[in-house]
């Protein structure tokens, strides 16, 4: 499959595809981080995660339209406002869902899976009724357009760079919240030993609700970032959900570092192979490899040692 390319060309191809892979990686990481918190920490299967992401994307779309028509001066910075709103919208919906549905199902993970699938169908249809079945895209402010030429043959799009920077920033924030703040300590305490955490005075129900909200909020931010690199339709979320679950499971469900490492591996493998094979073959090979590795090593790449 390498015939007909010179060594320099191959280098450029790998660099460009590697970069395309990094954008895919960013989307995966943003989606998977929320899922890793909800699934990895809480053990809840949220099949509607993709729809929370799409909610964030639609909020960004509305926000961009609203700001460009009412306050064009703010337009270059609209994305940051949109991101905050997306976080709040998805997070609030997440907390509502937790209160109305998830909290009754903590001991029945398979049933949660079915119930949240139902929720995802309902959300999809709401999106379709409100925004129409066609995909929508946002207008990027000028400073996000164009690309940086690194060498003669390698060009890097700015919006991709921005999404990657954003991903790194969000990852650091989440790490700080989960592992350095008192609140995060409370979350980890509840997840490791619910009864004991309750006994030392942590309000476990409140922790559950806010954790679920945080996970969904991050999904909203992911959706917001997603609008920078792709267009949004009512069913876009469903396209990513299985991949994202595989990313989380592959990385080892309790480990945030594992999630990032596995998102990196999967996205790079897929985008590099995509150039040489057809897109569908690349995807099949990637997924198949992941599934086979998972069969051999069901606990995932990184395992957190927890006494159960």
């Amino acid at each position: 499959m390498f015939e007909g390319y010179s060594l320099a060309e191959l280098g450029s191809i790998f660099a460009m595809q590697g970069f395309a892979g990094l954008i895919l990686f960013s989307v995966f990481v943003l989606m998977a981080l929320g899922l890793a918190i909800i699934f990895g920490q809480m053990g809840v299967i949220n099949m509607a995660h993709g729809e929370f992401m799409i909610l964030g994307a639609y909020v960004t779309y509305l926000c961009s339209n609203f700001i460009s028509s009412t306050a064009p001066a703010l337009f270059p910075a609209y994305f940051f406002i949109a991101m905050a709103l997306a976080f709040l919208a998805s997070g609030a919906l997440g907390m509502l869902v937790e209160w109305a549905m998830i909290r009754f199902l903590y001991r029945r993970p398979l049933d949660t899976l079915l119930a949240t699938w139902g929720l995802s169908l309902i959300l999809q249809q709401i999106f379709r009724s409100v925004f129409g079945a066609r995909e929508v895209g946002v207008v990027l402010p000028d400073w996000l357009m164009g690309s940086v030429a690194v060498t003669d043959t390698i060009e890097v799009p700015i919006n991709g760079l921005f999404v990657m920077g954003l991903t790194i920033a969000i990852t650091i924030v989440i790490y700080a919240v989960m592992f350095r703040s008192r609140w995060g300590q409370g979350v980890r305490a509840v997840m490791q030993n619910r009864v004991m955490a309750g006994a030392v005075g942590i309000n476990t129900e409140k922790v559950d609700r806010y954790t679920f909200g945080l996970g969904c909020g991050i999904a909203g931010v992911a959706g917001s970032a997603f609008t920078m690199v792709g267009s949004t339709g009512p069913t876009s979320g469903q396209l990513y959900i299985v991949d994202t679950f595989l990313v989380v499971v592959f990385g080892g469900a309790q480990s945030l570092i594992g999630t990032i490492a596995s998102a990196f591996t999967i996205s790079q493998a897929q985008s590099t192979m995509e150039f040489f094979l057809s897109g569908s073959t690349a995807k099949v090979l990637t997924l198949l490899t992941v599934v086979v590795i998972l069969m051999l090593r069901p606990q995932g790449l990184f395992v957190l040692k927890v006494r159960r």
Binding site: P109, L121, Q238, L288
Partner: protein
Amino acid sequence: MTRTSQSRPRGRLFGRIDGDVAGILLLAALLIVVLPLGLDIFRLNMVGKYLTYAFVALGLVLCWGSAGILSLGQGIFFGIGGYCMAMFLKLEASSPEATKIQSTPGIPDFMDWNQLKALPWFWEPFHSLTFATVAVVAVPALLAFIVGLAMFKRRVGGVYFAIITQAFAAILTILIVGQQGYTGGINGITDLRTLKGWDIRTDEAKLVLYFVNAALLIGCILLCLYVRRSKLGRILVALRDKEDRVRFSGYDVANFKIFVFCFAAALSAVGGAMFTLQVGFMSPSFVGIVPSIEMVIYCAVGGRLSLLGAVYGTLLVNWAKTMLSESFPELWLFAMGALFIGVVMVFPNGLAGLYQQFIAPRLRRPVAGRADAAAGVDAGAPIIPPHTAAD
């Protein structure tokens, strides 16, 4: 255990008329007498199509309801069964005479469109009906065996199993859609005409196929009932409720799980093959994640513990789907979503649970002396204890 007048007969399926058998007779009467008399051939064919999903739902009752293994990839097996049958029918429809306008006569039309010059090797054996019929059951069972062996021996279960089966459904769909020249791509295998020279598109053939399908379904229900009442069936329930305890009693838990997963796969595949015969095509839209999880809801609506409930649930959900999509297409997804949530949160035992709670006690009163004869459609189904419902 000593048999008292209250205990249910075990192991003697045809020994006497008990609740389950009465329920099956009622269903058989409905499928074989009432529906064919009451519906025109178009609607009857549609019911026949729904009934092919009931095979999948039956498999899920054993796999998910009895043994607690939720597979979100039953569409894979339904699809493979359907494709095996479709490959045979397609080859019969692509005889050199029928396809002489193609640049390569004698191969299926979609291969010709994709510039294939010869039949791929894995299509060759499907010239034989015997091979195709065996493959319908054997290929899915083998695949299920491999997946089950790899996962259950390593004690992977529950949620992880569900996600991985779902990934398999995604992989197979992408593969079928991507390899257009070999599989027919997104359109699937269409334009199927005859089975050994017998035209399957006529109304008469559809009627015959409907009866064959209904009879097969009744046969499969009896088979499932037999499995459930055997010792094996009770071990399955035991390992759902307390897996470690079964393991410590000396059973190899994985083998039982592999068996029930393969059994469910084979049932789904039979449904898939019947689907192809009755509907006349097979496409990847019956294989992927969405149809696979939809099949779970058929089983859940009927009651995940009830074999007959699964059949009624399948009929009801599909009937509602057809009705709603015909008149209010945008409402269907709302209804479906609500069904998923409702069946989990409000009535986890589905229709069968409602029946046992509200209708069975009324039926039982007049014949109180014969408790076991009127114990309900599927009296073997206990109410799910809340903490064991899923894990």
